[in-house]
């Protein structure tokens, strides 16, 4: 799993049946301090996340199929949590309630 920032939404009217009715989000992997890292992905939303949210993303097929309850669904990337806060070495690097990044002390 990795931390990511929701940067946008994807509208896909024609897709495989396993994804019907599912919201798709564009997610940008980030480091705990918010620095972008890695490749932008499309993820299925499972937690009603929205633009600007910091989220926890699963990028693995078996877990994804378990969440959908469909053993044959060709899905891989799923948003599985909205991040409240992140502590690194005891310092608050992100807090959802304040929506601001405290500078590491």
């Amino acid at each position: 799993m990795f931390l990511a920032l929701v940067v946008g939404t994807v509208v896909a009217p024609v897709q495989i049946p396993a994804l019907d009715g599912r919201k798709l989000l564009l997610v940008r992997p980030i480091k705990p301090d918010g620095t972008p890292t890695g490749k932008t992905r499309i993820a299925l939303d499972n937690v009603q996340a929205g633009d600007g949210d910091r989220v926890l993303v699963l990028d693995e097929g078996n877990g994804g199929r378990q969440i959908l309850g469909d053993p044959k669904a060709p899905v891989k990337t799923i948003v599985v949590g909205v991040v409240d806060y992140v502590d690194v070495h005891g310092a608050h690097v992100y807090d959802h309630r304040r929506r601001t990044e405290a500078q590491g002390s």
Partner: protein, 97 residues
């Protein structure tokens, strides 16, 4: 799963028997700005898409699950046709629209 644009098609008459009837497309993965991200690759097109279309694809073992025959040697499959993607207020759409 990634956003991509279809840039062309690939025709292979002789291929693994389970892949008969599955079109192959040449795609370019895109980032949230609609810019190229990494190299181009060949993907199975489970839904019909043509050059210029915006699509999303799945990579890895899951790609084979999208194909009509699921035990096939495939590592990328186009699984959706994207009408538009909006990132940071900027719209990414089909080429020329």
């Amino acid at each position: 799963m990634y956003l991509a644009r279809v840039t062309g098609r690939v025709v292979a008459t002789h291929k693994y028997e389970g892949l008969g009837g599955v079109p192959l497309q040449w795609i370019q993965p895109l980032d949230e700005h609609g810019k190229a991200m990494g190299g181009q690759l060949v993907a199975c097109a489970v839904i019909s898409a043509g050059p210029g279309d915006l699509v999303h694809f799945v990579d890895g073992r899951e790609a084979a699950l999208a194909c009509p025959e699921t035990f096939v040697p495939v590592d990328a499959a186009i699984i959706g046709f994207v009408e538009q993607a909006v990132a940071n207020g900027v719209r990414i759409g089909r080429e020329g629209r």
